[in-house]
C-alpha cells in the first residue's frame, strides 16, 4: 500500500510541475501558449466526464451540451450584459449546472446505452437552439464581437486579454480548483458511494443506497465542471459557435477519456493532451487528420483497454 501511495504522490507532483511550468517548457519543444491552454481546458472537460464515467460507471454521450452552455453563458454575458470575465464564468457554470440538474431526474433512471442515447438527444436540443436563434447566438456563424475582459481585483488588474501566459495561469488555477474538488470528493464517503455504484449497482442498492439520487448528484457535479471547462474554452477562443454543443464534441470528450484511461484520475488529461497535440500537428499536415486520430484511438482501445496511462502504469509495475 505504501508503494502505491508513494507512486500516486509522485504522479501528482509531476503533473502539477508540468502544468505549472507549461508556458516555459512548451515553447521549447515547439508548442505555443494557446496550445497548452487548450490541453488544460479540454483536459478539465474530459476529467469532469470521467467523474461520471470512471468513478460512477455511467456513460454520458452528451457532455458537450453543458460544455457548450458554459461557453455560451460566458459569451452572452460579456457580449450583452457586463464585460466581466469572472461574472461571465459564474453565469456560464450556473446555466450549465442548472440545466443538468433539471434534465437529470429524467435520465438518471436509465442505464447503459439508453442513458447515453438520451444524453445525446438532450444535447442536440441545445445545439439546435444555438444554431437557430440567430438574433442572440449568432447562429451557425457563432457569437463574435466580444473578448475576455481583464481581471480586475480592484487594487490590481491582470491583462488576460493580450497576455496569453497570464490567461494560461487563470485557466490553470481554475483547473486546479476544479480538479482539487473532484479529488477531494472522491476521497470522501460520498465519493466512495459513487465508486460502489460503479462497482456493483445491485449491491449498492441492497446496502440501502438510493442509487438514482447519487447518480443524479454525480451527473450534476460532472456537468457543472464541464460547463466550467466550456466557459474557459469560449474565453480562450474569444468566440463560441454551435459546434461546441454538437454531439461529436461529446464524442471527442469520450475519446479523450478512454484514450488516456478512465480508471485513472489523470488519464483523461493525458488523453486530452494527446488528442489536442495530434489534432494540432496532423491538421496542419492533412485535411484528413480525424482519420489518424480515429486510427490511434482504435489501436489504443484494442490493445490497451486501460488507456495510455494504463500502459505506463503497467510498465512501472513490471
Amino acid at each position: 500500500m505504501g508503494a502505491t501511495d508513494l507512486r500516486k504522490q509522485a504522479t501528482n507532483a509531476v503533473v502539477w510541475l508540468l502544468l505549472l511550468g507549461m508556458p516555459y517548457w512548451l515553447p521549447a519543444i515547439g508548442g505555443y501558449a494557446e496550445l497548452g491552454t487548450r490541453v488544460v481546458v479540454l483536459g478539465l472537460a474530459a476529467m469532469s466526464l470521467n467523474f461520471l464515467l470512471g468513478y460512477t460507471g455511467v456513460l454520458s454521450f452528451g457532455h458537450a451540451a453543458y460544455f457548450g452552455l458554459g461557453a455560451y453563458g460566458v459569451a452572452l454575458t460579456i457580449r450583452y450584459l457586463v464585460p466581466s470575465t469572472g461574472i461571465g464564468i459564474i453565469v456560464g457554470v450556473l446555466i450549465g449546472t442548472v440545466a443538468a440538474a433539471i434534465i437529470g431526474p429524467v435520465i438518471v433512471r436509465l442505464r447503459g446505452v439508453y442513458f447515453a442515447m438520451v444524453t445525446i438527444a438532450f444535447g442536440q436540443v441545445f445545439y439546435f437552439i444555438a444554431f437557430r436563434w440567430n438574433s442572440v447566438t449568432g447562429g451557425d456563424d457563432g457569437l463574435t464581437g466580444w473578448t475576455r475582459a481583464p481581471l480586475n481585483f480592484g487594487f490590481f488588474r491582470v491583462d488576460i486579454e493580450h497576455n496569453a501566459t497570464a490567461f494560461y495561469y487563470l485557466v490553470a488555477a481554475t483547473f486546479a480548483i476544479a480538479v482539487g474538488a473532484m479529488a477531494w470528493l472522491l476521497r470522501s464517503p460520498f465519493g466512495r458511494m459513487l465508486i460502489a455504484i460503479r462497482e456493483n449497482e445491485r449491491r449498492a442498492r441492497f446496502l440501502g443506497l438510493p442509487v438514482d439520487q447519487h447518480i443524479w448528484m454525480s451527473w450534476v457535479i460532472s456537468c457543472g465542471l464541464a460547463s466550467l471547462a466550456g466557459a474557459l474554452y469560449a474565453l480562450l477562443n474569444n468566440f463560441v459557435d454551435p459546434r461546441a454543443l454538437y454531439w461529436t464534441q461529446s464524442g471527442d470528450f469520450v475519446i479523450m477519456t478512454v484514450l488516456g484511461g478512465m480508471r485513472s484520475f489523470w488519464g483523461p488529461l493525458i488523453g486530452a493532451a494527446i488528442f489536442v497535440v495530434l489534432q494540432d500537428y496532423l491538421s496542419s499536415q492533412t485535411e484528413n487528420w480525424q482519420w489518424f486520430v480515429g486510427l490511434f484511438f482504435v489501436l489504443v482501445v484494442l490493445f490497451f483497454p486501460r488507456g495510455v496511462l494504463g500502459i505506463i502504469r503497467r510498465k512501472i509495475q513490471a
Binding site: M1, W184, L185, S188, P189, F190, G191, R192, M193, I195, A196, E199, N200, R202, R203, A204, R205, F206, L207, G208, L209, P210, H214
Partner: protein, 249 residues
C-alpha cells in the same frame, strides 16, 4: 416475538405460479432455513421478502410493520440485509473498502463530502471489528474480485452485517463451493448467529448445512409450503421425504 411474518404471499409470472400462498413466521433470534427441490420457488420467495419483487397477493410484516409495498431500500432502512446466490461484491475494491461502504452508510455518511472530525476513528474501529468477526483481517487489503468463492461470500456476509440489520437473508450461502469452503462459511454463519443473536433466514441446497445450522426448517415444493418444523421433525416427515429427501438420497 415474531420478527418476520409472511401471510399467504403469492407471486405469478404470467400463468406460472412461482409462489402459491405461502405463509411463514420467523421468531426474533431464530435461524430459519428454507429448503426445497429446484424450481420450488425458494429464490422468488426470498426476493418477495427482500423487496426485489412485489408479491401478486398477500402481506409481509416486519417487526409488526406492513412492508409489502416498500422498496428494497426502505426495507434495508428498517433492518433487513441480504446476500445473493451469485455473490454481489465490489470486485475492484479491497475487502476493507468493500466492508467500509456499508459501515459508512450505516453511520449516515453517504452524502458527506468530507469525513466529520472524530468519525474516522469510529469507522475504523467498527471496520476492524467486522473484519475480525468475519475472519477477513488477513485478506483485508486484497482485491475482493481476486478472492476464492468462500472468502467472497464471507466478505458479502460481513457487508450485510455492517448495516446492523435485525434480519439477515442469505440466498444459498454455500452455492458452488467445495467441501472446505462450505464448512468455513457454515461455521461463520453459525458463529455470527451466536455472537450477534441476529435473526437469519437462509435458502440452502446442502442438507448437511441445513441440519447443522437451522433452528427450524420451512420446506417449499412447487411454490407451496409443504412442511415446517425442527430439523428432526422435518427429517421424520413423510411428505417431505417423498417430495424431496427421498429424491435427493
Amino acid at each position: 416475538m415474531k420478527l418476520l411474518s409472511v401471510e399467504s404471499v403469492s407471486r405469478h409470472f404470467g400463468s406460472l405460479i412461482a409462489v402459491d400462498s405461502v405463509s411463514m413466521n420467523v421468531e426474533a433470534g431464530e435461524l430459519r432455513a428454507i429448503i426445497g427441490p429446484n424450481g420450488a420457488g425458494k429464490t422468488t420467495f426470498f426476493n418477495l421478502i427482500s423487496g426485489m419483487l412485489p408479491p401478486t397477493a398477500g402481506r409481509i410484516l416486519f417487526d409488526g410493520n406492513d412492508i409489502t409495498n416498500l422498496s428494497a431500500r426502505q426495507r434495508v432502512a428498517l433492518g433487513m440485509a441480504r446476500t445473493f446466490q451469485i455473490t454481489e461484491i465490489f470486485p475492484e475494491l479491497s475487502v476493507r473498502e468493500n466492508v467500509r461502504t456499508p459501515v459508512e452508510i450505516a453511520a449516515g455518511l453517504r452524502l458527506f463530502p468530507f469525513m466529520p472530525s472524530g468519525v474516522e476513528a469510529k469507522i475504523r474501529g467498527r471496520l476492524d471489528e467486522l473484519l475480525t468477526m468475519g475472519g477477513l483481517t488477513k485478506i483485508a487489503d486484497r482485491l475482493a474480485g481476486e478472492l476464492s468463492h468462500g472468502d467472497q461470500r464471507s466478505t458479502e456476509i460481513m457487508m450485510a452485517l455492517a448495516l446492523k440489520p435485525r434480519l439477515l437473508l442469505l440466498d444459498e450461502p454455500t452455492a458452488g463451493m467445495g467441501e472446505e469452503e462450505t464448512y468455513a462459511v457454515t461455521q461463520l454463519i453459525r458463529r455470527l448467529h451466536k455472537e450477534t443473536h441476529i435473526t437469519v433466514v437462509l435458502i440452502e441446497h446442502d442438507m448437511r448445512v441445513v441440519f447443522r445450522l437451522a433452528d427450524r426448517i420451512t420446506v417449499l415444493d412447487q411454490g407451496k409450503s409443504l412442511a415446517e418444523g425442527t430439523p428432526s421433525e422435518i427429517s421424520a416427515n413423510a411428505a417431505v421425504q417423498a417430495a424431496y429427501l427421498g429424491k435427493a438420497a
